[in-house]
């Protein structure tokens, strides 16, 4: 709704008056063909009842409304208006273009936002300040945040359920592809690329790890330890087709010649820091994947990669 005409200094041109509210245009828009201008709120209200221009009844709809020409905006901006809190004592008379910023700062504005000086850091309208209670406000803030948190948690549960379903379906698909590959030679190349990409994608989800105590390596992990590592790998989304091979490579009997025995390991020790390692989530163990370590010599790496388990020292 437009500004009351009586608040303006001097005469206001008839062209700047909204034909609906008869006030001075506030946030003006115009009809597309006939170019009649209205306050945005007024014309929206009218169009919700009847889809015509209120002046000449040409059919219009709300999404056809256009901004008014710059000259009209400029004429409006230059009008001089009294503050809407004149009745509360504000004597300010400002140009229409700065009215909003004045009202926000006007000391007579009962709703002027002010910062609470009790230290809660909340901003409240000035006339609410006397009833303002930091503890109550903060408590309700906590409550709403708590609700949001609960909501988010529920969403997370839902999401993880659907992720698991998708993962299971994906595994079926992979099985299917593998079966196809063995029955059709042309599928082999595609499937291999597919598997390589899959390994890379999985690897990129694992954080890089740094081994600080190479001496703490467990080169002959027992069955229990191996089972624990395997579960971790599986939970991290390790592609099934390399899982068994990777797990085989967690024991020195399957390691390449450069690592196969204590003697060779001691000889190659200074090469260890060249490994690009990835953390097996939650475990004192790292993965050195072949695709991450193409720079390592053959006697230090084997397909699809190595699992190295440590007693401690993984960062």
């Amino acid at each position: 709704m437009g500004y009351d005409l009586s608040r303006f200094q001097g005469l206001v041109d008839e062209e700047l008056i909204c034909p609906i509210c008869s006030g001075v245009l506030e946030i003006p828009v115009q009809a597309p063909k006939c170019e009649h201008a209205f306050c945005r709120a007024c014309i929206m209200e009218w169009l919700s009842r009847q889809a015509t221009c209120p002046v000449d009844r040409i059919a219009i709809s709300s999404n056809e409304l256009q901004p008014v020409p710059r000259i009209l905006k400029n004429l409006l901006a230059k009008l001089v208006i009294s503050c809407e809190y004149a009745a509360s004592g504000c004597t300010a008379i400002v140009k229409l273009e700065v009215l909003d910023s004045h009202v926000l700062d006007c000391e007579h504005n009962p709703r002027r936002p002010v910062l609470c000086d009790q230290g809660c850091g909340l901003v409240t309208p000035k006339d609410d300040l006397k009833d303002h209670n930091c503890v109550r406000e903060l408590r309700s803030l906590i409550q709403t945040q708590q609700q949001q948190l609960t909501q988010l948690e529920e969403e997370v549960v839902d999401q993880s359920v659907s992720i698991n379903e998708i993962r299971r379906e994906l595994n079926y698909l992979k099985e299917f592809v593998r079966a196809m590959r063995s029955s059709h030679p042309a599928m082999r190349a595609i499937a291999e690329q597919f598997e390589k990409d899959e390994v890379k994608r999985w690897a990129s989800t694992l954080p890089k790890a740094k081994v600080s105590r190479w001496g703490a390596m467990i080169s002959t992990p027992d069955e229990v330890l191996q089972a624990m590592i395997k579960r971790s790998l599986s939970e991290s989304g390790c592609p099934l087709h390399i899982m068994e091979d990777l797990m085989a490579n967690c024991h020195e009997r399957h390691w390449p010649t450069g690592l196969a025995s204590l003697q060779t390991r001691q000889r190659q020790r200074r090469e260890y820091d060249s490994y690009v390692c990835r953390r097996i989530p939650g475990k004192q163990a790292v993965l050195a994947l072949a695709c991450d370590n193409t720079h390592m010599s053959e006697e230090m790496m084997s397909e699809p990669g190595l699992v190295m388990i440590f007693a401690l020292g993984i960062e």
Binding site: M1, D4, L5, P19, I20, C21, S22, G23, H36, C42, E45, W46, R49, Q50, T52, C53, P54, V55, R57
Partner: protein, 199 residues
Amino acid sequence: MANIAAQRIKREFKEVIKSEEVAKCAIKVELVSDSYTELKGEIAGPPDTPYEGGNFVLEIKVPETYPFNPPKVRFLTKIWHPNISSVTGAICLDILKDQWAAAMTLRTVLLSLQALLSAAEPDDPQDAVVAKQYKDAPEMFRLTARHWTAAYAGGPYSNPDFDSKIRRLTDMGIESHDARVALSSFNWDLERATEQLFS
């Protein structure tokens, strides 16, 4: 009353008062209550019509939702016209119904009503009896409308024939208005009007 309605009516009230039609005594508007929700309008019967010389008073009620909905207007002065009920004064005029537009004002409404008095729409009647007479017996309609203007709106043309027929009925104890309605409805056939009044 909604702020926007009050603001509009205040402004329109001034607009009517300052308009040249007021200077020519063609239309007039007065406040009934301070709240601007109820007004009294007045229009002069247009020249060269049976309403010439009469002044017709209108009740204007401004709804909360004005100007998104039209004002509710009816004739307080009794009038014989196809689009105005001779009983209630209710008006059948499109701009007071679905053809209302928010940019219309009290002044344009009053002028539209004045135009309606000049040009009736018998095919879209509010009063079927009047509309039938308008179409079937236009001269009878003209005389009747002029008689009503004289009787209720201060019009200058009296009709001694009609007056004497009414007197015949009032002498029998009939209210003069009821007598006028009955006679008007039967094209001033005293016999049929009497029959209807006493049936």
